[in-house]
């Protein structure tokens, strides 16, 4: 019995310690946590272009997102790159459909509408 009690005390003490630490962490979190500078709500149900680490690029309709910028894209198409030269995009598109993409892999988000290819604007 005594041993059990000691064990329980030990555990409860540990728990107490943990919960305190947890509280400390939680109280720090709101200070650290900042709202994302990009308000993705303005892109919901809109076509966006997303570029990923490694060079893949997709276009899709934004259906959902979270704090970590994981995205849900619908009617998604990947821009297919040249097999021999992955830095060049072909005109081909590969259908992916409904996808969840991971926020940490994203390097760039931009709206699809309003993008246009132009001639070199830096030449004089």
């Amino acid at each position: 019995m005594d041993k059990k009690r000691e064990g329980q005390r030990g555990k409860s003490a540990q728990r107490g310690g943990h919960s305190n630490r947890g509280k400390g962490g939680k109280s720090n979190e709101p200070v650290k946590k900042k709202e994302n500078i990009l308000d993705l709500s303005k892109y919901t149900d809109k076509k966006i272009i997303v570029k990923y680490q490694g060079g893949r690029q997709v276009v899709g309709i934004l259906k959902g997102y979270d704090l970590l910028q994981n995205l849900v894209l619908d009617e998604t198409f990947e821009y297919v790159r040249d097999i021999n030269d992955p830095s060049q995009y072909t005109d081909e598109l590969r259908e992916l459909g409904l996808v969840v993409t991971r926020g940490t892999a994203i390097i760039l988000i931009s709206p699809y509408d309003g993008q246009e290819d132009i001639a070199n604007p830096f030449q004089e």
Partner: protein
């Protein structure tokens, strides 16, 4: 001159951002945060090889993919001037603080007071 404070000073001006993959973006810096995530508007995209150009109304770039940003000299100069001014003002404040601390030291800590006295002599 801290990188992020310089970046904050560059808000609303035109900057050039080169990503690690070599692509670069020219545009108005709208916002940035502690991770150097940035939003640019009225952007001109240049591909790595410099053979493709695009106009994009708005982009969000994740900070950890940025290689470097080019910021107008004007901004850098302004920050430098402002910092010098702040340093002068800060200098006065520091001196007054030192005096206070010395006073406290004299009261609370005799050892320090003695040392100070020796130096003065």
């Amino acid at each position: 001159m801290l990188p992020l404070s310089l970046l904050n000073a560059a808000l609303a001006s035109t900057v050039l951002v080169e990503l690690k993959n070599g692509d670069s973006y020219n545009g108005h810096l709208i916002t940035c945060d502690a991770w150097m995530n940035i939003i640019l508007k009225e952007v001109i995209f240049t591909s790595k090889d410099g053979d493709k150009f695009q106009k994009i109304p708005e982009i969000y770039i994740r900070g950890n993919t940025i290689k470097y940003l080019r910021i107008p000299d004007k901004i850098v100069d302004n920050v430098r001037i402002e910092q010098e001014r702040a340093a002068q003002q800060g200098g006065f404040q520091k001196r007054s603080n030192d005096r206070n601390q010395r006073g406290k030291g004299g009261r609370d800590n005799r050892g320090r007071g003695d040392r100070n006295n020796k130096k003065r002599d």
